[in-house]
Symmetry: C2
Subunit: 415 residues, 2 copies
């Protein structure tokens, strides 16, 4: 994989040119893209033209970035993973695309999204094992980073669409606090849940990228991360995790403990179970409005699975939706109190390693609803060598703490 931080340091030091980074990407793409299928659009020539030496002075140092095809781009086709939008050229770049450019990043291409970032699997294959899914919905972004085709990629998460594919592909994934990064110009599925996310090789890389793009103090490189107070979460969902995943979490806890962190077993109060149930109500009610044009005008060009999901969603009453939002608000308020004694929570990123479909978001949706920062920490694998991701969940707006705890854990796992 291409380490964003390492490349940026070399570009800043003048020992590597932005154009050389594009060449590194192009080389990996030439070798892997045909079998992985991470991109829907690529413009290496434009990227080379954009890769001017003076980008070395900007925060992203001219690094190439893959953009999930759910973000509008004025100079590359944007199809949101749907045949309805095949060949669509938006008039405007999404805010995140502009923030990447302002930070001195280069848009290398658009990466595969599932249909409107939903559950219908896309054709991208997992670079770790081509017989498996890369996860979804940010399938192409996770795969492109895992295959070393790009050092940074943008994704989005409405249930588990950043953390899960990061886990399946064995890369660092970061879902910041809700609304820390703008969703303007991103195709909407659920306005209360859609969250911008980032992929990179390791934790320090993804923190560097988030800091550079968001203009915030999020970097965790350069000094030893302090040991976080960690809560090990056994939810009612624990039996849904595979034996390998359960073992991976226990192992991560042991390693973190050996590295000096305090680990405490915690259980979630019932208010959070209600909130997790509310996720689907909020997501689907909003999707039935957000995708109203596609549903009413292009019903025959939706996948059967999405059509069925939206059919059911049409029956959700505003009252049920309002009640779900109240559950969510209560849980958000309760989470601060609940986390008084822990910096972060340690919990699975997914039920297990990559499977045939895009995988279930059951270990992610509560945190998306709460809007808390989540980080997938790579480094563990099942006996077949498929990555197993462990998830670090932080407190709202404490993104730097969550990233630092994730780095601490990443280092502990590597020992």
């Amino acid at each position: 994989m291409l380490s964003a931080l390492d490349l940026a340091r070399r570009v800043a030091a003048g020992t590597l040119l932005p154009r050389d980074v594009i060449d590194l990407c192009a080389k990996a793409i030439a070798i892997r893209e045909a079998e992985v299928g991470a991109f829907t659009a690529l413009d290496l020539e434009a990227a080379r033209r954009d890769a001017q030496p003076e980008l070395a002075r900007l925060p992203l140092c001219g690094l190439a970035v893959g953009i999930k095809d759910i973000y509008d781009t004025a100079d590359l086709p944007t199809a949101y993973g749907s045949p309805i939008y095949a060949g669509h050229r938006p008039k405007t770049d999404a805010a995140m695309v502009m923030l990447v450019r302002r930070a001195g990043g280069i848009v290398l291409g658009k990466t595969v999204s599932t249909e409107f970032a939903g559950l219908q699997p896309a054709a991208t294959r997992n670079p770790r094992n081509l017989a498996h899914t890369p996860g979804g919905s940010s399938s192409g972004s996770a795969a492109a980073v895992a295959a070393g085709m790009v050092p940074v990629a943008l994704g989005s998460q409405t249930a588990g669409s950043v953390i899960r594919p990061a886990a399946f592909c064995g890369v660092a994934g970061f879902k910041p606090s809700f609304r820390m990064l703008p969703t303007v110009g991103m195709k909407c599925f659920s306005w209360s849940l859609d969250t911008v996310g980032l992929f990179a090789a390791g934790i320090a890389d993804v923190a560097f990228a988030a800091a550079a793009i968001g203009g915030r103090d999020l970097r965790v490189d350069g000094r030893e991360p302090s040991a976080p107070a960690m809560g090990l979460l056994h939810t009612a969902l624990w039996p849904e995790a595979s034996a390998d995943m359960q073992e991976a979490i226990e192992r991560a806890a042991r390693k973190a403990s050996a590295a000096g962190t305090q680990i405490r077993e915690i259980t979630l109060p019932a208010v959070f179970d209600e909130a997790a149930q509310a996720h689907a109500t909020i997501q689907d009610f909003e999707a039935s409005k957000a995708l109203a044009f596609e549903f009413d005008r292009h019903r025959d060009r939706l996948s059967p699975a999405l059509r069925e999901q939206l059919d059911k969603a049409a029956a959700i009453s505003p009252l049920a939706y309002d009640e779900a939002r109240r559950f969510a608000r209560r849980a958000r308020q309760a989470f601060g109190t609940f986390m008084a004694d822990a910096d972060v929570i340690l919990t699975p990123s997914a039920p297990g390693a990559a499977l045939g479909s895009t995988g279930k978001p059951i270990f992610n949706r509560l945190w998306t609803l709460l809007g808390t920062p989540c980080v997938n920490v790579p480094g563990l694998a099942d006996p077949a060598g498929l990555p197993l991701g462990v998830q670090v969940v932080g407190r709202f707006a404490r993104d730097r703490n969550a990233l630092e705890a994730a780095l601490f854990l990443e280092r502990a796992l590597a020992r």
Copy 2:
């Protein structure tokens, strides 16, 4: 003006056809549009084609609706009030446009918005007095309803862009609770503040339209509104209201009191002053991201005022923004407690009657930030006959109560 409720009742009863409603609109447009300039696009032929008799069975009964040109429409040009988007045809209808269609409404045309719904005045004139502004940013929607050219119109409010033009034009304006109606497909200025709003002739009309489009129990017609517990708010801003406006508010309070409501003088705790200050920080920080493409790529085609606003906004730090968001969160939580003894607040909709510019949003921005429902109640005027709007502010998610209190006040003023 065209009463939405009256027209809908007649269409539902079969004494009027949806096509007849279009004819009523067309007649007023033929007489007034040349001098008022409320529309950027009109398609009366398409509206007549769409006006099928069976719409009478749907909630909006085939009523014609004006759509602020900040909402995407696939079959009418959408320019967001900016020359950058002249002739732009989005690929998709905004969610609100689809909700209007699903409810059985007919899109009659697009109404004038100021540039990206900002402060730069547009060319629309106030139908009550052509020498005056209709207010902004929903200039065309307020003017179209006031001139009887359309019974219902959509607007949007980021600071005071629904309540203020409603007040200046002497129509009912309703800004629902934040996120009750979807902003998907609306050009974003500030994702934490942009709120969908509605215009109609009177309070029962705007409540009817909101109920029909939103699928919620918001109608207030059909029975006598109960007397609300009303708080009369003298903020630190009170001296900013004109003598006419101060007198109008006192008169509204006296009339409401005479009609049987309890009125209590209230003052806002300091936390709300801080929150009101936070509004500009949040709005401008987000605008500098949301309009990044336009600012970076089409700087010369922005108005000087917006360019200057975005230039200044670029200097707002993420830390200042985060602090402003914390103020806002605290104020939202405090508002519920503050309103324990009052159903609604009575306060000016604007500093006075319509002036030369789009007017100041100082009496609106706090409520937009808090996300509370606001209603402009028409019925009063200054000595020159220009409308003076009084504002009813309700509790979050208690939209029906706010509308009922507004209806109570509207009737009291008419006595």
